[in-house]
């Protein structure tokens, strides 16, 4: 069955450094991959979508890569700030393109 894996352990990063989060998937050839941010007590917020034919996508301080051979996506936050502290979820489409499956998320903490 389709499986998405994210680092279950929290990631603690010093402010100003680059945070890198990993999303691995198996039994899957998704046409695209998404990343969301979720703050405590709130619903997820969409950040970026990267398609299978795109190697890299950027948005401000965010960068996402998509390696369909390794079946992996990396999510980078450069010049990290305490306000970036949140849980980050990767999501992939199911067989029905309108539905998506979420990974378990990685909690990121940026310390001043």
């Amino acid at each position: 069955s389709q499986k998405i894996e994210q680092n279950s352990e929290a990631l603690n990063i010093q402010e100003g450094k680059t945070a890198t989060l990993t999303c691995n998937y198996t039994n899957y050839s998704p046409a695209y991959l998404q990343w969301y941010r979720q703050d405590p007590g709130r619903g997820p917020v969409f950040l970026l979508l990267i398609r299978e034919n795109e190697k890299e996508k950027r948005k401000e301080r965010l960068k996402v890569t998509f390696d369909t051979t390794l079946k992996q996506s990396l999510f980078h936050i450069t010049a990290s700030q305490p306000a970036d502290s949140a849980t980050y979820l990767c999501a992939l489409p199911r067989s029905s393109a309108s539905k998506i499956i979420f990974g378990s998320g990685t909690r990121l903490s940026i310390r001043p």
Partner: protein, 114 residues
């Protein structure tokens, strides 16, 4: 993007009762989804709410336990029936615009069953 509101934001309910959660969107959308997020877990899709037809439920979720209504293109309700403590969770609705793949989520309803 879409702006989504949910009511109630939280509730504490007794075992055996039912709670209806409302989801309102500021624009017309075809696809609306209901998710559950248990403490410390990721989101699990409960069902897809289709306007004009019955909801489509995911494996492990049944209509008798989670009846859904979708009377128009901007509104949906999810009822959690005959609740038990295992139903304690955050329930979220989301929408997906037809022109894009991302989903927009409501703020969630935090349900505690005692």
């Amino acid at each position: 993007s879409a702006v989504i509101s949910q009511k109630p934001s939280r509730d504490i309910c007794q075992r055996g009762t039912s709670l209806t959660i409302q989801c309102q969107v500021d624009s017309q959308v075809t696809m609306m989804f209901w998710y559950r997020q248990q403490p410390g877990q990721s989101l699990t899709l409960i069902a897809t709410a289709n306007q004009g037809s019955e909801a489509t439920y995911e494996s492990g979720f049944v209509i008798d336990k989670f009846p859904i209504s979708r009377p128009n293109l901007t509104f949906s309700t999810l009822t959690v029936s005959n609740m038990s403590p295992e139903d304690s969770s955050i329930y979220l609705c989301s929408v997906s615009p037809e022109t894009s793949r991302e989903q927009y989520f409501g703020p969630g309803t935090r349900l505690t069953v005692t």
